[in-house]
């Protein structure tokens, strides 16, 4: 029960003190969330109110099913961009079909997350490596920021990639609206200085650090309020400044996604990518925050919670959501103690939807664009590539290629490239496990790498220590390596595979071992196994390998050598010089 309804972990002991903390956090997060929800909905190409709707039901659902005490779910920048990229080819912005596709996308990615959670497939998030995620997030942030330029200038231009956007912008530069541009610059200045300076000013004014952080995050609300004021005072709409426009008042009605098989088929892949990226982002945030209070999240249950949140977002007229970094940190810093804070935030958003929409209609779109630009530039981390380069060049190349693919070809090809590169790199690494030719440390029963230690070997016996589990990615490598050694040295009469570090084998590896055994047999060489671990031996017992093994199974490497070259193992036969180092 508690596994699937983590609310029972905390609700029974919910007291007045937690209620007060959660209520305060909810008020602060609500203030931050109002402009963000509107802005991200516009980024996704949707009407502004859809962002508000997506910030109500998902929060309540996450409060019931989520295992993080601080995560705040709702619309986020990268997922909004991915939503726009997924739907743009299917329907025109502003049509009911476009909204229907967004709802279907939320429901389908929610169903995928839910299924992965129930099947405990959280490990699927491993399809993406860190450098690839980092490259993708940075490129997405740059794409999002660039995508706001037309709105900031008051011109109409679109594009899903940097080249197409630049081409479209180039043709529209004659129509820049000076009022819009002026408003954009003021909003950017206000937001940027709040972000970079305000914290310092507040710290010097001895404002409590927690409150200071919250105030900094609330700057967009100030920008929104001032812009609305300016728009009404100077009648900016008449001067060509685009406003958000009439927002329907009232809560969303429950709705089912359109049941059009062609639509669902077209969004399967985008929905999977949104589920993957949203989950990876959300779990990282949740884990970081949980650790600070020595709490724990359950990654598989998080899949369930995010899946249900997305289904809830869809059927309440919203679009794909996930746990956002900025708002979760604000929620945490503002003192949220339980997921109830999220439910109270939902209440706040519902009140805003009911009461604030007439005011928000006068909000210039350029202000929201400025909010987005300042928010996403914090996600850009170009130096990450440099740091990665120092650790692993292959990783850095994977990250750069993902970044370039996303900028030049769009988010979907970008994330697909990233997944493919992550898997390729993983296969490449695991297809060449660490191994060593080993020899005996003279006078002992120890065996060490011939390349690093002064050890004794016998030309007739090749001893290989494999330092990893034997799985299908390295099964072929094992065959190649053993056969290459045999072909290179006709003196070899026996091969000893030292399996001390082999923790597991799969059926491909067993077949490879059988093939090696048979091929060595054809070549007149016996195959021996030494130091096989218990679980591995259990698996081998079910195969014909042990029955057909041309050599023996030895408890230790020393036992194997005692059997194959007793005089040498016991140190009674002197070896000629040069026989002691074979690679």
């Amino acid at each position: 029960m508690q596994r699937f309804f983590p609310i029972f972990d905390w609700a029974p002991g919910y007291g007045r003190q937690a209620l007060a903390s959660d209520l305060l956090a909810a008020v602060i997060v609500t203030i931050m969330l109002i402009p963000q929800s509107l802005a991200y909905a516009l980024l996704a190409g949707l009407p502004a109110e859809v962002g508000l709707y997506a910030s109500i039901a998902p929060l309540v659902i996450y409060a019931v099913f989520g295992t993080s005490r601080s995560l705040a779910v709702g619309p986020v920048a990268v997922v909004s961009l991915m939503t726009a990229a997924a739907i743009a080819p299917l329907a025109a912005q502003g049509t009911p079909e476009y909204l229907g596709a967004a709802i279907a996308l939320a429901v389908l990615s929610g169903l995928m997350l839910l299924a992965m959670g129930l099947l405990r497939l959280g490990f699927i998030a491993n399809f993406l490596s860190h450098p690839v995620i980092s490259g993708f997030i940075t490129a997405s942030a740059l794409l999002i920021a660039a995508g706001q330029i037309p709105t900031l200038l008051g011109v109409s231009a679109t594009g899903q990639t940097i080249p197409s956007l630049l081409a479209s912008l180039g043709g529209a530069m004659g129509q820049v609206n000076p009022w819009t541009l002026g408003l954009s610059l003021l909003a950017l200045l206000l937001l940027w200085s709040a972000r970079t300076r305000l914290a310092g000013v507040l710290a010097r004014s001895s404002v409590a650090p927690g409150l200071a952080k919250v105030l900094v995050r609330a700057a967009p609300v100030l920008a929104v309020a001032l812009s609305i004021l300016a728009a009404r005072m100077f009648d900016l709409e008449a001067k060509g400044v685009a406003l958000v426009g009439a927002i329907p008042t009232g809560l969303p009605l429950p709705a089912l996604p359109p049941f059009d098989p062609a639509l669902w088929q077209a969004i399967v892949l985008p929905a999977a990518m949104i589920a993957l990226v949203g989950y990876v982002e959300s779990v990282s945030v949740a884990q970081t925050l949980a650790a600070k209070r020595r709490q724990r999240i359950d990654p598989d249950q998080e899949l369930v919670a995010l899946g249900l949140s997305n289904i809830g977002a869809g059927v309440s007229g919203g679009y794909p959501v996930t746990g956002g970094f900025a708002r979760s940190v604000v929620n945490f810093d503002a003192g949220a103690e339980t997921p109830a804070a999220g439910a109270f935030t939902a209440l706040g958003m519902a009140l805003a939807t009911l009461m604030l929409t007439p005011v928000l209609a006068h909000l210039p779109k350029a202000t929201l664009a400025a909010t987005i630009v300042v928010a996403v530039l914090g996600l850009v981390d170009m130096r990450a590539l440099g740091r990665t380069w120092k650790i692993s060049r292959a990783d850095a190349v994977a990250g750069s290629v993902t970044l370039a693919a996303t900028l030049l070809a769009g988010v979907e090809p970008g994330i697909a490239t990233g997944v493919a590169l992550s898997l390729l790199l993983h296969l490449w690494r695991t297809s060449r496990p660490h191994f060593a030719v080993i020899g005996q440390v003279p006078g002992t029963e120890h065996f060490r790498n011939v390349a690093r230690h002064h050890v004794v070997t016998v030309p007739e016996v090749l001893s290989l220590r494999v330092d990893e589990a034997l799985y299908f990615p390295n099964a072929r490598w094992l065959e190649d390596t053993v056969m290459a050694h045999i072909a290179a040295d006709p003196r070899i009469r026996a091969v000893v595979l030292n399996c001390v570090a082999v923790n597991d084998v799969d059926s491909s590896a067993v077949e490879s071992l059988e093939a090696i055994n048979a091929r060595l047999g054809d070549a007149g060489v016996t195959l021996h196994l030494a130091e096989v671990k218990g679980p591995v031996m259990d698996r081998l017992r079910h195969t014909s390998l042990l029955a057909e093994l041309t050599g023996g199974v030895h408890l230790t490497q020393f036992d194997a050598m005692l059997c194959l070259a007793p005089e040498v193992a016991q140190g009674t036969r002197a070896l000629p010089r040069g026989e002691t180092a074979r690679r």
Copy 2:
């Protein structure tokens, strides 16, 4: 030079004895290859002569670039089926567009193989695990055999999957041609008894085993000759028996594939799958045969050779080829010593194309269908699943799902399912590496798994030994595991990661270690590293981890314990009962 032209390995020392052996092998393989080439071309939906063309140029090219001494390349059953599945949606059988698509498919999969070879990406074959390959091959063989039923009955029915084939057959059963059916049964009986009985009969007649094997393999030629005779004597064509029909005499002219971007885009994925499956099949055969004579093949050069062979097949009017199992074994058994045997076989096939085609025109298609059925039934291995089940249930499930997907949805969805399952299983396994909580063996400096040995631990210190390289698939697991232990036991003040078995780290793992360090720091727990290997330490030195590490780096686990719990490590502090076993 020798790396890219393995012909220089053997051509300079080529002598009369090798020439004689190679010529004999070539004659035998040519006899076997004539009916097979015709049959597989029909299986691919192509005119019969395309099979002959595909058995000329590729063999000469492989002789120059291949590293196997015995591999015989040409049309094979599974690749022919995949070719038919790839082109069927693009063009109608018998049209020039269909042939053009087959040629483009050969060239494109050849270019892919060549590129993989030049980039030394042979490890990509690891995308497929053994049980998945086995399931795919068995299902393909069943599909191929079922696909011959209409030809054997003399009715017209088609289908790329078992259900569609059965539905199509159901409607056509009224038109069964008795003459065709009779011929089919006779051919099947002849071929089957040759396959199952002839070897035994020949052995009892004391025919040399090598020759006996060759005679068994030549049975299809007898069936072909008898069928042609029967067709002419009884004028079977007039009785409704379908014949191969006029085959153009003469060698193929060099041709370029059609340059239609839409066509090339449509065949990218099928070409990749054909390249992958063809390469895996070919390399397995080549390795098995090379080992028997203690020779060696170079998997990356094999990619180059197969790639060029396929490009050659395409531009000489053929279709995708690969190294075939049956013909390579015959080539080997017949005594082929060098790839020159392949070149001589090509000569034989060219002569056949020039001279035998008028005769072959009278060959009933049903005989070729019978040849295919008997050939592919040898590929069906249903018991493999049972053997796999005993070793690994996950592998057996992956193999069964691939088998079912191939039978029910066709070869392309089948192989795609197989690749996806192989990767999923691999990620699943590598996302949960083997690890152990370790404690000190009392009175020693050794540390062992607390679950298996009687060891001493301290509640304030958690010592974890990770038994695998740290890569992105298990990076998240590492975070989860460490944080779960910390959340479960509030007494822990220090975590020691014992890295003795960690052979490598990638940048995702480094980021995870940094995250763990920071999160543990937030929770008031220090992180220590012990027994870090040289190459891993080199990578860590380029990061900020060592500078930010809240604990220390210790040469040995004992050093770490000496530093963290000196009295216990030295055995001078007694521990309360029950403190010695933590999981």
